[in-house]
């Protein structure tokens, strides 16, 4: 329940600050997103460049790269996820405490990118874990990563703590653990997590 803006500004003039718990929570979360220090391939270099001198991720409160998933809020999947690496990526995501967010950075993390035809490349990390923001590009420029972070902040601003549209981690029935894929006879087993991704239904031409 948002506070009426007119009333809020009237009260602020009198030195009283009124807000909702939801706004306060989201404000705190959006202003200190700690990413996981986790690079997979080429995009990781651009991620480091974003954190370094010219682009300076610290302006958005997200410069504290944590090597441990237990201390991180945001996983930037920066690079090609191979089938050998995919179980580890899902395991790392499971180890992160909620609330947690994922940015899929670059064409490879979104869909396999230029290496999609390869026998060892996962065709998008969104098959196993829920992705909040996708950044296209090969690799995306640091500005694109900054833009994605701002998108994520906007998304966090709109999160609800209660009601039917509350965020996933306040739902008691929602599993916090995502199944970790394993090597099967031909491919990873399962090939995707049905809870977050499914193959598109074929379009029936001529159907009424």
């Amino acid at each position: 329940m948002a506070v009426d803006e007119g009333l809020q500004s009237e009260l602020q003039k009198a030195g009283v600050f009124v807000t909702s718990v939801e706004t306060l929570y989201n404000w705190g979360r959006r202003s200190s997103i700690w990413p996981l220090q986790f690079g997979l391939a080429c995009c990781a270099i651009e991620m480091i460049a974003t954190a370094c001198s010219r682009f300076d991720l610290a302006r958005f409160g997200a410069e504290v790269f944590r090597p441990s998933p237990r201390q991180a809020d945001l996983m930037i999947v920066a690079g090609t996820v191979t089938k050998k690496m995919a179980p580890q990526v899902v395991r790392l995501y499971n180890q992160m405490p909620e609330p947690r967010y994922v940015i899929a950075m670059g064409a490879c993390a979104i869909s396999g990118g230029p290496f999609k035809q390869g026998y060892n490349v996962l065709k998008g990390i969104d098959r196993y874990i829920p992705v909040d923001v996708h950044i296209p590009g090969c690799p995306p420029r640091p500005e694109a990563l900054l833009n994605a972070l701002m998108y994520l902040q906007r998304k966090i601003d709109g999160q609800r703590l209660t009601g039917t549209d509350k965020v996933r981690w306040y739902d008691e029935t929602d599993p916090a653990e995502f199944p970790v894929p394993e090597f099967g006879a031909h491919d990873l087993e399962p090939p995707f997590n049905r809870a977050v991704w499914g193959p598109q239904e074929p379009i029936q031409r001529g159907a009424a």
Binding site: A41, C42, S53, P67, T80, K84, N120, V121, C138
Partner: protein, 399 residues
């Protein structure tokens, strides 16, 4: 009241009384049942420069066994290239060693030029040398930053290194349109020509670079902590390095004078006056210093190349047909001195549009095979900087 040690429940001591003088048994030790500890470092580990795993067996904190595990970034580069046209593989070579896309492009173009007997015009060769040496500056600067980062100097040297990297990437962006993935070289030349403005900007960077190197060295090279941590650590003898086909700055740090720019004289390198720095001890500090000294030599090459840059000329051989390019049947191996070592491409053509066999000789991968020999007997914290000094990029190791 307890009279003797044998009265204590669970005691297995001898007949000595609890009070009074005692005698002690002296053993040869190792009775604690201490076991070796097996640690899996990676694939998610901040010091492995990507997705690399080391299975380390530790006795206390001394490494007694180390097994590198690769393949977490195996992207089927070679197989994809065998199903693409010759030109179609060029953007994929950018993604091998993603710090040095220009030298990767050049190595591939060099191999195809050998295969199809193409010659690049003089202006193109100058452009290639300038961009390759700028790439060497980027790579060695960033490596020094990452190496010191591994040592625990979190941030500051890396920020200095990336500040310089951004300036050079601006040049790459201006000439090719891409910051990291340039896709710039073509068979028989380069894709677009230099403008006079670019040459001016490169000259500006090159003129300022020695000042940056002086600053960087003043901060780091003679630092006491840095010297204590790096000197005498991870020693690689010249003989072992040659036997393990180590190339690049790692080999030269072990005292072996082997630089493909001098040995093969590919391109127009014989026109430039530059020296090859060599190390004495082959430890981590030597590998660090060799890279700093190599950057100074690169600056010299760049200054000469800018000075001699031809006013006019083709930037690509006009006789080369890039579309539907079919080299005659045969095989070729082209190699150049990339910042990490000998980067070679081996191609077999059957006369079709696609290579029959496409093989990369990656310097990072072959330099990494010697990791165990360098780490044995060292502390586990030093294994991290030894790996850092090898200068690996996982895109090239796993391909």
């Amino acid at each position: 009241m307890i009279q003797s040690i044998t009265d204590i429940p669970g005691s297995v001591a001898g007949e000595q009384p609890l009070y009074g003088p005692r005698s002690y048994q002296v053993t040869s030790g190792n009775d604690l049942g201490a076991e070796l500890l097996e640690v899996s470092m990676g694939p998610h580990h901040p010091s492995t420069h990507g997705v690399f795993r080391m299975d380390v067996v530790l006795d206390g904190e001394v490494v007694v066994k180390l097994k590198p595990v690769f393949g977490y970034l195996h992207r089927n580069h070679e197989k994809l290239a065998e199903n693409l046209s010759y030109l179609g593989s060029m953007p994929y070579t950018d993604r091998l060693d993603y710090f040095c896309s220009m030298t990767n492009n050049w190595a591939y173009a060099h191999a195809v030029e050998k295969l199809a007997d193409i010659k690049a015009p003089e202006r193109a060769e100058f452009i290639r040398v300038i961009l390759a040496e700028l790439t060497r500056l980027v790579n060695h600067t960033c490596l020094a930053g990452f190496l010191v980062n591994d040592l625990g100097a979190l941030g500051t040297p890396l920020l200095y290194a990336f500040r310089e990297r951004e300036k050079i990437l601006d040049i790459f962006e201006a000439v090719s349109g891409g910051r990291m993935m340039c896709n710039y070289m073509r068979f028989g030349g380069v894709r677009v020509d230099f403008t006079p403005d670019i040459l001016r900007r490169i000259r500006q960077i090159v003129d300022n670079y020695p000042r940056f190197l002086d600053e960087f060295e003043k901060l780091l090279s003679a630092n006491e902590i840095l010297m204590t941590r790096m000197q005498g650590v991870g020693v690689l003898t010249g003989e072992l390095a040659v036997n393990a086909s180590i190339t690049g700055p790692m080999l030269r740090a072990s005292g072996v004078d082997y630089d493909i720019r001098k040995v093969d004289k590919y391109g127009i390198y014989e026109r430039f006056d530059f020296r090859v720095p060599l190390g004495d001890h082959g430890d981590v500090y030597d590998r660090y210093m060799i890279r700093i000294l190599e950057m100074r030599e690169s600056v010299k090459i760049l200054q000469q190349a800018i000075h001699q840059f031809p006013e006019k000329g083709d930037f690509i051989n006009p006789g080369v047909k890039l579309r539907n390019f079919r080299p005659k049947a045969g095989e070729a191996y082209g190699r150049i001195e990339s910042p990490k070592g000998e980067l070679g491409f081996y191609l077999i053509s059957t006369g079709g549009v696609m290579p029959y066999r496409y093989r990369v000789r990656p310097p990072s991968f072959i330099n990494l095979t010697i990791l165990e020999d360098m780490c044995l007997g060292q502390k586990v914290a030093d294994a991290v900087i030894i790996l850092g000094s090898v200068d690996i990029v996982l895109g090239e190791v796993d391909r």
